[in-house]
Symmetry: C2
Subunit: 449 residues, 2 copies
Amino acid sequence: MSRLVVVGGDAAGMTAAATARRRDRNLEIVAFERSAHTSYSACGLPYFISGLVADAADLIARSPAEHRALGVPVQTRHEVIAIDVEAKRVRVRDLDTADERDEPFDVLVIGTGATPVRPELPGAQAAGVFGIQTIEDGIALHDWIEREHPRQAVVVGGGYIGLEMAEAMKHLDVDVTLIERHDQPMGTLDPDMGELVADALRGIGISLRLGTDVSSFATRPDGRVRAVVTAEGEIPADVVVLGLGVRPNVELARHAGITIGDRGGIRVDGAMRTSAADVYAAGDCVESWHRLSGRHVVVALGTHANKQGRVVGINVTGGEASFPGVIGTAVTKVCAYEVARTGLGEREAADAGFDAVAVRVDSTTRAGYYPGSTPITVKMVAERGTGRLLGAQIIGQEGAAKRIDVAATAIWNEMRAADVAMLDLAYAPPYSPVWDPVLVGARKVAELV
Amino acid sequence: MSRLVVVGGDAAGMTAAATARRRDRNLEIVAFERSAHTSYSACGLPYFISGLVADAADLIARSPAEHRALGVPVQTRHEVIAIDVEAKRVRVRDLDTADERDEPFDVLVIGTGATPVRPELPGAQAAGVFGIQTIEDGIALHDWIEREHPRQAVVVGGGYIGLEMAEAMKHLDVDVTLIERHDQPMGTLDPDMGELVADALRGIGISLRLGTDVSSFATRPDGRVRAVVTAEGEIPADVVVLGLGVRPNVELARHAGITIGDRGGIRVDGAMRTSAADVYAAGDCVESWHRLSGRHVVVALGTHANKQGRVVGINVTGGEASFPGVIGTAVTKVCAYEVARTGLGEREAADAGFDAVAVRVDSTTRAGYYPGSTPITVKMVAERGTGRLLGAQIIGQEGAAKRIDVAATAIWNEMRAADVAMLDLAYAPPYSPVWDPVLVGARKVAELV
C-alpha cells in the first residue's frame, strides 16, 4: 500500500488529497498544514473585510474535521520543515508542542502556497499594516477594523487584490487612497484600458496616487501606523493594506534540491511533477505554462489551484491527467465596475514576439433599449497576418466581465478573430445587443489584420 | 454601375444594404419595404408590451429616414409582388396608390422575414387574438391592452416568445395561463430541463396547461375573444397571444422559381446565394445550416439575420464572406429565471446519429458565500467515445444564462468535454465559484464518455 503525504492544507493540496481518496479507498494519506485552517477561499477575504461575508468561517470550503470525515486525515498546526527526496521522508514539527518527527512518503504533494510581498521599507511591519493572503491575515485585519474604526485607509498596489481591498474599505465608509508605482492601476491591462479603470476608481471616490513609490510607513509613538510616506509627501493612514501581490513559498522545495523556475515558482511539467521523483506540486507555489507566450508564469488563483490539485490527485492514483496551462484570464469587481482580461495585451503580445493589432469598441451589456443596459468597453488584440485572436480586455458594469470567458475559450482554441465574430452566441434583449460586444470587438479587430 | 435591389426592410435586408453602401459608395441601391418601418428589433416586442420599453420607436435601430441619410434609399409602403430572376427585375406595388411598376436589378437581396404561425381554428382571427412578429403586431397588442385592460391572458405556445409574452403579461399584473401542446414548455430543452422551467413558471404564478391542444377561440357577441377552448374545457381570456413560432415568408421566392428547402425556408449556400443567379437571401426567410447535425434548420433570430445581412453586403460588393452556420444557441428570460441552450440536446443528439451521454449538475452563479449567489443547473451532453461536447442547457437566475456562450464557443471548436473542464475561465467570488458551473458540467460529463 502506498503512502501519500501532502504538504500544505490549501485548495491545491487538499484537492489533490480528496481526489486521490475518491479514486483509491486504500491509499494511505496524511496532510500537514501549519495553520489551523484548510481549504479556504483567499479570494473571498476582501468580502469578509467589507462585511459582505459575515463570518470568516463562510470562506472555508472544507474544515479539517470535514476532510478527516472524508478520509483525508489532515494534521493542522503541523509544519513540514524539511523534505528528503532521496530518503523519501519529510520532517514535521508540531507547532503546539515543538516536537519534531520524520514521516515517510511514497508520493509527496507540495502545496505550500504563496506569501504576500512585503516591501523592505521602514515601518512595513508596523501595527496596522496588513498583507492579505491567509485567513489569519483576513481575521487580523477584520479585528483591527472592528477595534480601531479606521477612517483613512491606504491601499498599496493597484492590482486585483488592491482594487478589491479598496472596494472593501469603501464599503466600510473609510476614505481610501490607492498608491500604485506604475502610471496605471491594473498593470495587467493595456494602458488605455488602465486609464478607464483609473477613471472608474476616481468616479467612485477612491483617491489615486499613480506613479508613486512608497518610501516608508510613519508610525505613532505607540507603534501603530500613522501615514504612508512618499516622495510627494505623507498620506495619512490609520490602516494600510498591502496589495503587492504574492510570492510562491518555495524555500522548502529549494532546500530539498527541487528545481525552482526563473519566475520563482516550483517548476512542474504538465502532470504537475517536480524535478524530484514522486514529488508533485500544485497551487500558488508553482509556475504555470502560458499557452500563448510559451513562457512560465506565476499566477496565484484558486481556480488554477483546484484544477492542478485535481490533476495531481488523478496522477498519483494511476490515472493520467494534465494541466494544460493558462492564458492569463482574470476578473475583478470594484463597486459597480467589472474588469476582466484574457490572453495577451498589446505590450505582452509584442514581448512574446507577435506582430499584433488592437482595437477598442464601446457597446452595451444589453440591447440599448432594455432597462439596465450599461456601457461596456471591449479591447481585442489579434495577430497580423494570421488574424488569430490573442487577447481581450473588458471594462463595464453588471454583466460585462464574464463575457471574457468567450474570448478565453476562443483564444484557447486559436480561433481567428474573423471566425469569432461569427460565433453563435446567445442573443436576447435582456442579455445582449443583437451583436454581442465580444462579436463586435472581434469583427473590428479582424478588419485590421 | 451595378444596381442592388433589396426586398424587405428588416434587419437582414437593411444590414446587407448598409454594409454594401459602406463598402461601395457608387453602388446604386434601392430597398422596398411594405410596412412603414425598417430595422426594428422584433425580439424587443415583449418588453414594449410589458412597459419596460416605453415607446415602440425605441425598438427601431434605424428609421427609413436614417437609412436614406446614410445612402440607403428605402421606399416604405412598397411591396415587391413578383421577382423575375431571368429578366432581372421585380414588380413593385405602391401600397398607398396601388400603382405598380417594374424595377431592374443586377443583384437582388431577399429579406422577406417570417410570419407568426396562426392556427387554422375557429376564432383564431377574433379581435383580441394576437400574433407577435412585426412592430405593427406589437403596437396593436399594446393598444388593445391600454384600451381593454385585460385581466386574464392566455398565451398559446411555450417556446421563447410564449415565455417572454407570459412574463410581459405578469409585469402588467394580468393573470396568465400558458397552453402548450407538448408535455413541457421550451421544447428545445430536454424534458428534465423543461420540467425545471415548468416549476419555475409555476413558482412565479403562471398557470400551465401542458399536453393541451387548443380546439377553438370562443368569442363574445361583439366578436372579441372570450375564452380559449380545449378538450379539458374553456380557459377564460380577454386577450390571447399566439407564441407558436414563425414561418419563413417564401412565397415570393417560390413563385420566382427559387429553391425552397425541406424546412420551409429559402435554401442558401454559405455565401447566402439562392438557387437563382445574383439573388441572395438572408434573415428569418432562409434556412441555416446546423454545424452539429449537418441539417438545415429555420431559426428566426436577429443575431443570425444581422450576420447574414453583413455576409451578403460583403459578397455583393466584391468581397468574400461566409455565414458559417448555427449551433442552436438561444436564451430567454422569464421574470427572475434565465434559460439557455446550445448545441444538441439528448434527443437531438440521438436523432443526429450521435451516441450521446448527458449529465446534470447543480451549482451556484457566484461563490456560495458571496451575496446574490443563486442556484444554477447545467446540463451537458457529450459524445461517447470521442468525448466531444455536443450540447449544453442552463437554467438559473441572474448571471446564469450567458454562461451558455462558453459552451457554444467550445462546441463550435469541437472541444472534448475533458478539455472544456480545464479552460482558463474568469474566476472571482462575485462572478463564479472556484469551479465555474460550466467547468463542473464538462468535468462530470467527461467522466461518462
